[in-house]
C-alpha cells in the first residue's frame, strides 16, 4: 500500500501542496487530474524526494520516504513529463544503468528490452546520445527505462505527451499488464479521453488541494467535473 499523509509544500509566495492525503492499493491505476498549476508534478516530485516536504509523510509498504529513502526508492519507478536522460550515455547504456541500479537480471532484461525497443520502434537508436533524438524518442527511452524494473509503484507524469498513436496504445497495454501483476500506477494527464478504460481511481487536485477522490464510476461524470474546475 502506498500512502501520502498530510503532505504540505509551499514557496514564499504560495502554497503548492496543501495537506494532501490519499492512499493507493496494489493493482490499482489511479489518475491524478487537475488543471495546469494544480500541483500534480510537484506532488510527483515530492514522492520522488526531489523537494523537501514541510510536513507530512510518504510511505510505500511501510517504508517511509524520510526514514529510509534508499529502500523507498527501490520500490518505485518514475516516468517524468520531460525526459531527463544523461547526455553522456547512449540509449542502450541508459537501459544498462537502470538494470544495474535496480539490480535486475541482465539476461532476462535483454529479452524485455528487445520487446520494448521493437514496440517503440527505436531499434536503430540504441547507440545514439539523447540530444540526437527527437522529443518523442527521448520520451520513449525514458518510458522503457522506467518500465524495466518490477516495482510496487509506478509514477507516470503525462505519459502520452509526444508519443505516436501506436506507442500510446502499446504503453496503455503495458500499464494494464503491470497493474494486473500488482503494481500500483499513479499517472497524470491532460488527455482525459485516454484514461477511459485504463484507470479505476482518480484524485482531483485544485490549487494544491485534493478536492475529490475515489473510484471512477462514470467517466463522463468525471469529465464534467474536470471541466467545471
Amino acid at each position: 500500500m502506498f500512502t501520502v499523509d498530510q503532505v504540505c509544500f509551499s514557496t514564499k509566495q504560495q502554497v503548492i501542496l496543501d495537506q494532501i492525503q490519499f492512499s493507493l492499493k496494489s493493482s490499482s491505476i489511479t489518475a491524478l487530474i487537475g488543471h495546469n498549476g494544480a500541483g500534480k508534478s510537484t506532488l510527483f516530485k515530492a514522492i520522488m524526494g526531489m523537494i523537501n516536504l514541510e510536513t507530512g509523510e510518504i510511505a510505500l509498504d511501510g517504508i517511509t520516504q524520510s526514514d529510509n529513502f534508499l529502500a523507498f526508492k527501490k520500490h518505485l519507478s518514475y516516468i517524468p513529463e520531460e525526459a531527463f536522460l544523461l547526455s553522456e550515455l547512449t540509449v542502450e547504456q541508459h537501459f544498462q544503468l537502470y538494470i544495474e541500479s535496480y539490480q535486475l537480471d541482465s539476461v532476462k532484461m535483454k529479452q524485455i528490452i528487445e520487446q520494448y525497443v521493437d514496440a517503440f520502434e527505436i531499434g536503430d537508436k540504441l547507440d545514439q546520445y539523447p540530444e540526437s533524438l527527437s522529443k518523442g524518442m527521448r520520451q520513449k527511452v525514458q518510458i522503457i527505462c522506467a518500465l524495466l524494473p518490477e516495482v510496487k509503484l509506478l509514477l507516470v507524469d503525462e505519459p502520452f505527451e509526444g508519443l505516436d498513436v501506436h506507442a500510446t496504445e502499446f504503453l496503455i497495454d503495458v500499464l494494464k499488464k503491470k497493474a494486473s501483476t500488482g503494481t500500483m500506477i499513479l499517472l497524470t494527464t491532460h488527455q482525459l479521453d485516454r484514461l477511459q478504460g485504463l484507470v479505476d481511481h482518480y484524485l482531483m487536485l485544485q490549487q494544491g488541494k485534493l478536492i475529490s477522490s475515489g473510484p471512477i464510476e462514470s467517466f463522463d461524470q468525471l469529465k464534467r467535473r474536470f471541466d467545471q474546475l
Partner: protein, 474 residues
C-alpha cells in the same frame, strides 16, 4: 519618421530583459545587503582609499619606469588584444544572439539586422567598460592619461575587429579553433620576442590589421552560412542568464558554457557509444564518475592548482613548513576529493534511481586513489631536498600514503552516511586518523617508529569493507 520594426522589436525585448534582470538584481541585493552594513562598508572603503593613495606616493618612480616600458612595447602589447577573443571563441560566439533573437527571426523581421544591433551594442558596451577601466586605472595609479587612452583605444579597435572572426571561429570544429588560437598565439609571442632585436612590431601590427579587415569583409558575407544555431543559442542564453549577484543570493549556479568542441570530439569517442560490458561490473559507475569529473573540470583544476600552489608555497620556505604542507595537502585532498561524491547524485536521472552506494563508493574511491598518487608524488618531491634519501624516508612516505588513503576512506564513509540519510558516526575515527597524520608526520622525521605505528594502525583499520579490490573495481 517610421522606425524599423526589427529595431523596435529588438529594443522591446532588450528593454524587458533588462527590466527583468534589474528586478532580480534588486531582490538579490535586498537579500545580500542591508543599508547599515553598506554604509559601514562605504566608510571603510573610503579610509582604505586614503591609505592606498598615501602608500602609492612611495612607488611613483616605479610607475614612471613601467610607463616608459609600456610605451616602448605599445604595438607589441596591442597584439595581446587578439588573445582574448581567440580563447573566448572556444565557449562564446561573441555576439549575444540568443533564443529570443532566433524567435524574432521567425517573425517577419530581419535576422541580419538583429545580429548587427547586437554588434553595435557590443561596441558600445566595450567602449563603456574601457572608459570605466580607464577611470579606475587613472584614479588608482600614476599612469598618464595619454598611455591609458592609447592602450584602451588600441585594445578597443582590436576587439571590434575580432567580433566577426570570433563568431566564425566559434562555429568551427575544436581542432580548427585550437590550431588557429595556438598558431596566432605563437606568432604574437614571436612578434613580442623580436622586438628585443629589431622593432618590426608596427609593420606586423599593420599587416595583422589589414588581414583582419579583409577577414571581416569576407566573413560578413558568410556570417550565417552553415550556421549551427543550437550551440550559439545555448552558450548565449547561459551568458544572458548569468549574474554573479543573483547566483550568489539564490544559491543557484549557472554553469559557464561548455567547451563543446573538446567535449564532443575528444571525450565522446566512438568507443564510448558501445554498450557496457557485463564482465565489467563497475564500468557504468566509472563512466558516470568520469563524466561528472569532466563536467566539474573547472572545480577540479582549481582544486589541483590550489594544492600545487600550497605545496610550492609551504615546501620551499622551511623544513617545518614542508612537514605542515604534507598534513594540510593530504587532509585537504581527502576533503575536496570526497566533496565531489554527492555531486553525482544531483543529476536528476541518477537522483531518481535507487543507488547502490556500496558500488558507487568503491568506484569513487578508485578514482580518488588514482588521483592521490600524482598529488602525493608532487608532495614528496621536496622531501628529496629536505631529507636524506634512505630507508626511513621510504618508510615515512609509505606511512603518509597509507594515512592519506585512510583519510579518504573515512571521509567517504561520512559522505555515504549523509546520502543514506543516516547520522554519520565516523567523525571520531576521522579525527583520530587526522591526529595520527598530524603527529605521525611531525614526529616521523625524528623517529621511524612513529611511521611504523602509523602503518600498523592503518593496516589494522583496513578490513574487507574498506579495501578497494582492484580486480573487482576495474
Amino acid at each position: 519618421m517610421k522606425t524599423n520594426p526589427t529595431y523596435t522589436a529588438y529594443r522591446f525585448v532588450k528593454k524587458n530583459r533588462r527590466q527583468k534582470k534589474q528586478q532580480l538584481t534588486r531582490s538579490a541585493s535586498r537579500i545580500l545587503f542591508d543599508k547599515t552594513s553598506l554604509s559601514y562598508l562605504a566608510v571603510f572603503g573610503f579610509m582604505l582609499l586614503i591609505w592606498y593613495s598615501d602608500q602609492l606616493k612611495n612607488y611613483q618612480t616605479i610607475f614612471v619606469h613601467i610607463e616608459s616600458f609600456l610605451w616602448s612595447r605599445y604595438f607589441g602589447l596591442l597584439f595581446l588584444g587578439f588573445l582574448r577573443p581567440l580563447s573566448l571563441a572556444f565557449t562564446r560566439p561573441g555576439v549575444l544572439f540568443s533564443s529570443s533573437d532566433l524567435f524574432l527571426a521567425t517573425l517577419p523581421l530581419d535576422r541580419n539586422r538583429l545580429w548587427c544591433y547586437h554588434v553595435i551594442d557590443k561596441i558600445k558596451q566595450t567602449a563603456l567598460i574601457g572608459l570605466v577601466i580607464g577611470l579606475v586605472v587613472k584614479s588608482l595609479t600614476y599612469f598618464s592619461w595619454q598611455l591609458i587612452v592609447a592602450l584602451l583605444l588600441g585594445f578597443w579597435l582590436v576587439e571590434l575587429l575580432m567580433i566577426i572572426p570570433q563568431w566564425l571561429l566559434f562555429q568551427k570544429l575544436w581542432y580548427i579553433k585550437l590550431l588557429f588560437s595556438q598558431g596566432i598565439m605563437i606568432v604574437i609571442l614571436l612578434a613580442n620576442l623580436f622586438t628585443f632585436w629589431f622593432d618590426g612590431t608596427v609593420f606586423l601590427l599593420v599587416i595583422s590589421l589589414v588581414i583582419l579587415i579583409l577577414v571581416n569583409s569576407w566573413g560578413y558575407r558568410r556570417l550565417f552560412d552553415f550556421t549551427d544555431w543550437s550551440p550559439i543559442i545555448e552558450a548565449n542564453d547561459r551568458l544572458l542568464r548569468k549574474s554573479l549577484l543573483i547566483s550568489f543570493a539564490s544559491n543557484i549556479k549557472i554553469d559557464p558554457p561548455k567547451h563543446r568542441g573538446f567535449y564532443h570530439q575528444v571525450i565522446r569517442s566512438k568507443q564510448l557509444t558501445k554498450p557496457f560490458k557485463e564482465s565489467k561490473k563497475y564500468q557504468s559507475y566509472h563512466r558516470i564518475i568520469f563524466f561528472k569529473f569532466t563536467e566539474q573540470k573547472e572545480q577540479v583544476i582549481k582544486a589541483v592548482l590550489g594544492l600545487i600552489g600550497l605545496i610550492i608555497l609551504l615546501s620551499t620556505y622551511a623544513e617545518i613548513t614542508y612537514v605542515w604542507s604534507i598534513i594540510i595537502v593530504i587532509s585537504l585532498y581527502a576533503q575536496i576529493g570526497t566533496s565531489f561524491f554527492p555531486v553525482i547524485f544531483e543529476d536528476r536521472l541518477i537522483f531518481v534511481l535507487p543507488w547502490n552506494l556500496k558500488k558507487w563508493r568503491r568506484a569513487f574511491i578508485f578514482w580518488l586513489t588514482i588521483g592521490l598518487l600524482p598529488v602525493f608524488a608532487m608532495l614528496m618531491i621536496p622531501s628529496l631536498f629536505w631529507f636524506e634519501i634512505n630507508i626511513v624516508l621510504l618508510l615515512n612516505v609509505i606511512s603518509y600514503l597509507l594515512i592519506g588513503h585512510r583519510l579518504l576512506l573515512d571521509q567517504m564513509n561520512v559522505r555515504v552516511s549523509r546520502l543514506e540519510g543516516k547520522e554519520h558516526h565516523f567523525p571520531h575515527l576521522y579525527l583520530l586518523s587526522f591526529f595520527i597524520l598530524l603527529f605521525g608526520v611531525i614526529y616521523s622525521a625524528e623517529s621511524p617508529f612513529v611511521s611504523l605505528l602509523v602503518i600498523v594502525y592503518t593496516l589494522i583499520r583496513y578490513n574487507d569493507q574498506y579495501i578497494v579490490n582492484w580486480e573487482r573495481t576495474k
